[in-house]
Amino acid sequence: MDKKIIKKTLAGLGIATLVASMTLTTSGCGNEKPKGSCGAGSCGKSTDEGTSSCGKGSCGK
């Protein structure tokens, strides 16, 4: 989608409203699991599945 169209689509959204809703809803990372998130593991079975996206596993407890 063209950047101008996105800008137009979002024009009615107020920054202050978004910030306020964000404060209410972002009580966590929502189980977000970036690549290598713990830097110490991967859930990964294949690179196609976005491996290590869960970042699980530790260098050993």
Partner: protein, 542 residues
């Protein structure tokens, strides 16, 4: 990942032939076969498929179609459009965030997201505003279709309107860290293309005949595995460190968080903290420190022992951890010999609590000669109890030196069996880099390695002890500095840290170097030169 009825791979070809039904599968399904043909015939929309949502509007009454249909068609058109776009870049130029060029946004007056991915058209959406984002992931190129969160919309708006986080923080009287965290999370979701991180592998360590993807050269996330206390309620036989260290004060802890924040800003990476111990819940300021980490925009996870629901709820109130990892050492009898009486049942009960609270659970096993035959049976037992299971070889340091590893041949055979069994048991995860030898040989897709980049010691990962002593990896003594006395960037750039992240030169010509590099801790505990010798268990065929 979206897995709906749209055959996205065929769409482009079909569109050329004006196969409008392939673009609008759900709309077609709801409209019904006869009505659909009647509508297409009378409108000739097959020539201009983008005009279909608008034209449907005028036929709602006549064909007795649901009110939400034009919006559904609008969404299907956006999905189709995104499927035809390509994304070649993974990082932006000029040091600023840019929009993912495939991004599409649909602002709907019907709540359609619960029905995305449904194959049958038997849905009755409710009225209500909804923003749906459609984009191709910059790395996997796969299409995503998800409802937008407030923070994602804010981040996208900041980029399109060229508003700085500082201005937003000032005008809304909010914390700049929160705004920056929204931008960073939106980038990691692939909606924004961000500047290239400054955490980068030295390409000379890879096989020079191979083209290595940026995915393995640049790390977007840096993790601090933080042992905030040495206090522990268990006394495991293979514990690698029971040395007494000066306790971390809260002031020092907050200093470490600031130190990490500065490092992440300088290196343009997202910071993740893996809180551990000992048992992190035994650290008196854990909740405060956890909250301070959240305030600075770090994502978090916990490696610890089973704890009570009240503790977990307090954690969730601050920030949902990415996962909570506990350890088991085998089936009940063997585990309890290593970890103490009734430990196994405690863990099983705790996994139930984690599931109840929607915390992603992980179980880790330290593999030894004594429990290698229990790994697969344990993974079966945990199948419907844990979200994830993995193992790692014992590092024979500390008290672990009293235990043994299986021999190389037995271990290689075990890995082959583990890979085969993992196809039927989705919780069985891969962590040991050597699994990639098996996958590579079987011509199966490899995984990204122990830390997402093969061995991540001092690359996208550092571990910090309660007294600030910083190691490249926690499994063996690999001191590279002290975060209470030095900036993390100074530690990261030190000669010792560079040597550790370079790994073993013995692996440099290996075809899977970028996703392996063996395990430095295993080499160390076998008395090898970790910077020259390869992992003593490596069984790759030349």
């Amino acid at each position: 990942m979206y897995g709906g009825p749209f055959n996205l791979s065929n769409m482009r070809t079909k569109h050329r032939k004006h196969n409008i039904t392939a673009i609008y599968p759900l709309s077609r399904s709801i409209t019904g076969r006869n009505n659909w043909h009647h509508f297409l015939k009378s409108n000739n929309v097959s020539l201009k498929p983008q005009s279909l949502p608008g034209k449907l509007n005028t036929y709602l009454k006549k064909l007795r179609l649901p009110q939400f249909l034009p919006e559904l068609a609008k969404l299907e058109w956006s999905i189709y459009k995104t499927s035809t776009l390509n994304i070649k870049t993974t990082y932006s130029s000029g040091g600023k965030f840019q929009l993912n060029p495939t991004l599409g946004i649909s602002h709907l007056n019907w709540k359609l997201s619960p029905f995305l991915g449904k194959k049958k058209a038997n849905f009755r959406p409710k009225k209500g505003q909804e923003w749906i984002l459609i984009w191709k992931d910059p790395w996997s190129k796969k299409i995503n279709i998800k409802p937008a969160s407030a923070s994602q919309l804010l981040a996208i708006k900041l980029v399109t309107d060229k508003i700085s986080p500082q201005d937003v923080a000032k005008s809304t009287n909010s914390d700049i860290q929160q705004i920056e965290a929204a931008l960073s999370a939106t980038q990691r979701a692939g909606l924004l293309i961000g500047p290239r991180p400054r955490i980068r592998r030295n390409p000379l360590i890879f096989n020079q005949q191979q083209k290595i993807s940026d995915k393995y050269i640049f790390a977007d996330t840096f993790t601090l595995q933080w042992h905030i206390t040495g206090a522990c309620d268990l006394h495991c036989k293979h514990c690698y460190d029971r040395s007494r260290r000066s306790p971390l004060t809260l002031k020092q802890g907050i200093g470490v968080l600031e130190n990490l924040k500065n490092f992440c800003r300088k290196y343009n990476v997202h910071g993740h903290i893996c809180f551990t111990g000992g048992n992190p819940f035994l650290y008196p300021h854990f909740l405060k420190l956890y909250a301070e980490a959240k305030e600075r925009g770090f994502s978090t996870s916990i490696l610890g022992n089973p704890t009570n629901e009240t503790h977990l709820k307090k954690i969730i109130d601050i920030q949902m951890p990415g996962y909570f990892q506990v350890s088991l050492e085998g089936l009940e009898k063997h585990n309890n010999i290593i970890r103490g009486q009734k430990h196994f049942q405690k863990v099983i009960k705790f996994l139930k609590v984690l599931r109840k609270l929607h915390i992603s659970s992980a179980v880790m096993l330290t593999l030894t000669e004594d429990n290698i035959d229990q790994v697969i049976p344990l993974s079966e037992k945990l199948k419907n109890r844990a979200d994830y299971f993995t193992f790692n070889r014992l590092s024979q340091v500390g008290e672990g030196a009293k235990l043994n590893l299986p021999d190389t041949k037995k271990y290689a055979a075990f890995l082959k069996k583990y890979v085969t069994r993992s196809k039927q048991n989705t919780i069985m995860g891969f962590k040991d880099n050597l699994i990639n030898i098996v996958l590579n040989k079987k011509k199966m897709p490899c995984f990204d390695g122990c830390t997402g980049y093969g061995c991540g010691a001092a690359f996208n990962f550092l571990t910090v002890l309660p007294d600030g002593e910083t190691h490249a990896c926690r499994k063996f003594p690999s001191p590279v500095g002290n975060v209470l006395k030095q900036n993390i960037s100074e530690i990261y750039e030190s000669r010792l840290a560079r040597r550790h992240r370079k790994g073993s030169s013995g692996c440099n010509k290996c075809v899977i170097r970028h996703i392996c590099g063996g395990c430095l801790a295993i080499s160390y505990s076998h008395g090898q030169n970790i910077f020259k010798d390869i992992d003593p268990y490596c069984f790759i065929e030349p």
